[in-house]
């Protein structure tokens, strides 16, 4: 296996709110290798975005990191000094957000937004981008993102572009300079299916050409299934299952993964399940044991008191569920 790029260890993050403390992430472990495309899937409120924001340290002020490490090339992002983190964002990691309309400044032209971003970035040789190179790099990046007439786009304001074009601009910007990791947080949620397909193919092509690693965060299992090599299934701020994409979707172990997959209406027909009873975890009073246990049809007594460890059921396929740790005799 290739080199480890990002290693999230036992990450615990919460938010202080008026009512108390929301204990969201409860010991998340994630490993990203170089050149790999990894998906983090989960429903609304499962803590996916909190994971992404912890990596870049762009959590909101109310957030509190209790415990854990985010090792990027063996250096802990969480204990880095401000200049170090800033360098990380300018040189190593970039992020594609869900809503490019909100992420692009409406009173600046695309050209001025892009030159800000590129001007603060570094070239492949590790030196700052020279002001004279900026425009050329921006045009190149837009061309790579299959945008017609790049010069015209640089002179446009975000509202003059369609949603799909805005997202292309954002992707172009994220990958204009060499990066080792791109985090895409629901990059196609607001787009139509034909545009979504184009954007996903674009991300895939650019990521592969530039040998960048990708973390794709999404609630839609089908998008993750098409885009990634490996998947982490999250529920209630914990990773419940991790495996190669194909293995997880063809052969899920965790009761939550099974229930969720049965809810997907398939193109091949055959009907689908009737949903998962109950509600997403209330983080103010999260269950003590397995966080899925109150909704789990197969919950054992031990599930309500102890958090299940991740066990390897098959090589590379890990499940956090007592149903499977017993079988292994532990």
């Amino acid at each position: 296996m290739s080199e480890l790029l990002l290693n999230i260890k036992d990450l615990k993050v919460g938010y202080r709110v008026y009512k108390g403390l929301l204990r969201v992430l409860n010991g998340v472990n994630i490993e990203i290798y170089k050149g790999e495309r990894v998906g983090i899937v989960g429903e609304t409120g499962s803590g996916k975005t909190t994971i992404a924001r912890s990596i870049l340290r762009i959590l909101p002020k109310a957030a509190k990191i209790f415990d854990g490490k985010v090792l990027f090339e063996d250096k802990d992002v969480l204990t880095m000094s401000k200049p170090e983190v800033s360098l990380l964002r300018r040189q190593q990691i970039s992020m594609i957000f869900q809503d490019p309309t909100a992420a692009l400044n409406p009173v600046s032209t695309i050209g001025s937004i892009m030159s800000d971003v590129i001007g603060y970035s570094y070239t492949a040789e590790g030196s700052r981008v020279k002001p004279s190179q900026i425009r050329e790099m921006a045009i190149n990046a837009l061309r790579l993102a299959s945008l017609p007439a790049p010069e015209r786009i640089l002179a446009s304001y975000p509202f003059q572009l369609s949603g799909g074009m805005r997202q292309r601009v954002f992707i172009a910007m994220a990958l204009a300079t060499p990066r080792s990791l791109v985090i895409a947080d629901e990059p196609t949620t607001n787009l139509d299916v034909t545009i979504q397909d184009q954007i996903l193919r674009l991300i895939k092509r650019l990521i592969d050409e530039k040998h960048t690693s990708l973390i794709l965060i999404s609630h839609s299992l089908d998008v993750v299934s098409e885009m990634t090599d490996r998947v982490y299934m999250t529920y209630g701020g914990t990773v419940v299952e991790q495996a190669n994409t194909r293995d997880l979707f063809e052969n899920p172990y965790h009761p939550y993964s099974r229930a969720l997959l049965s809810c997907i209406p398939r193109l091949s027909g055959g009907g689908f399940g009737s949903g998962i009873p109950g509600q997403m975890v209330d983080y103010l009073a999260a269950p003590r044991g397995c966080r899925f246990s109150p909704r789990c049809p197969k919950a054992l007594p031990v599930c309500r008191t102890e958090a299940p460890p991740l066990v390897e059921t098959e090589p590379g396929h890990k499940v956090a569920c007592f149903l499977f740790s017993e079988k292994q005799g532990s």
């Binding site: 429903e43 209406p265 091949s268 027909g269 949903g275």
Partner: protein, 329 residues
């Protein structure tokens, strides 16, 4: 099967001002719906599928009486309803056609409790006697499997899925025969979507409902609809039974749509047309390309496609497509 709803050459144009602030006003027609015809039989689910900007919600709005049609006719149970002034629609007709909107967060009044929201249609349509309103609301909540104490809750205090169940309960409160579902689950998670859809399927059988199901989720269409209409730029490009539609998609746009859907299993992957990949975007409906609206994106474009608008032809029984490729005979 009895025909419940029939739409014939429906048109809805919106005037928009294309002039800039400093120049003179220039009013042009935005042809949101431009000659749409279809029918819906009793107890059927007809899926109206299209991307944003295709005019599918305008069709729904015209049927439910939010807009007055620019042209064309709508019949409901052989009664023409398109030209009657919307404000003068008889109460008995309004009762028959109900709607469930996409976002229950905005379609339910935040200052009313769920019970109060459910009470309105009951009172307006005189569904039950005065003393029995509470009883009926409890019954309605039970129909959508919500506990009776939800009556005194406010919409914001319950989850998105439960809010949508309340919206469904409100729609079925007046025992309608047609429910227009305008993207009822696109704001919801998949596990919640599954719950809402299975509830809708159950209610359809129990209450003899017909659905006009507006969506862009083809996976749902496959599992729920009887027939499918594909809309693009205000027109219907393909119309077929669900089975025909997924096994033999004819129109290049339909094929592009199907090939664009992300799927999770190999079985589904086999169903996707291979020879066509998605390019381009839906044009601005104010500035529709001449000829076939799809021609700038079409890989099989013929010379005449950018000149003439193709007619709809029935290729096999019940399978209608609007494309010159199938117009040879």
């Amino acid at each position: 099967m009895e025909e419940l709803l029939k739409v014939d050459n429906l048109k809805k144009y919106f005037p928009v001002n294309m002039g800039s602030i400093s120049h003179r006003r220039k009013i042009v027609d935005l042809k949101a719906v431009d000659g749409v015809s279809f029918y819906l039989n009793q107890q059927e689910t007809l899926a109206l599928v299209g991307e944003s900007g295709s005019g599918k919600s305008t069709v729904a709005g015209t049927i439910m009486g939010l807009y007055r049609a620019t042209g064309g006719k709508i019949w409901f149970r052989n009664m023409e309803i398109s030209m009657t002034d919307i404000t003068k629609r008889p109460l008995s007709l309004k009762k028959e056609i109900q709607t469930v909107f996409q976002d229950p967060g905005t379609s339910l009044n935040p200052r009313r409790t769920i019970g109060q929201s459910l009470e309105v249609p009951l009172r307006v349509h005189n569904m039950v006697g005065k003393g029995k309103v509470k009883e009926k609301i409890e019954e309605l909540l039970a129909t959508v499997e919500l506990p009776a104490n939800y009556m005194s809750k406010y919409p914001r205090t319950v989850g998105g899925g439960e809010r949508q169940l309340v919206a469904i309960a409100r729609a079925v409160a007046v025992s309608p025969s047609l429910i227009i579902l305008d993207e009822p689950t696109s704001a919801l998670d998949e596990s919640v979507q599954a719950k809402i859809i299975s509830m809708l399927v159950k209610l359809q059988a129990d209450l003899n409902l017909s659905y006009l199901f507006i969506t862009h989720n083809l996976g749902l269409v496959r599992n729920m609809a009887t027939r499918v209409e594909i809309m693009y730029l205000g027109k219907i490009y393909e119309s077929a039974s669900t089975m025909d539609f997924f096994t033999k998609p004819l129109h290049p746009y339909t094929q592009m749509l199907l090939s664009s859907i992300p799927v999770i299993s190999d079985e589904e992957r086999k169903l996707k047309p291979k020879q066509i990949t998605s390019t381009g975007e839906i044009p601005n409906p104010v500035d529709v390309p001449p000829g076939c609206g799809f021609n700038p994106r079409c890989p099989f474009k013929l010379e005449r496609c950018s000149r003439d608008d193709p007619p709809s032809v029935e290729v096999t029984s019940g399978h209608v497509v609007k494309c010159f490729l199938y117009n040879e005979s």
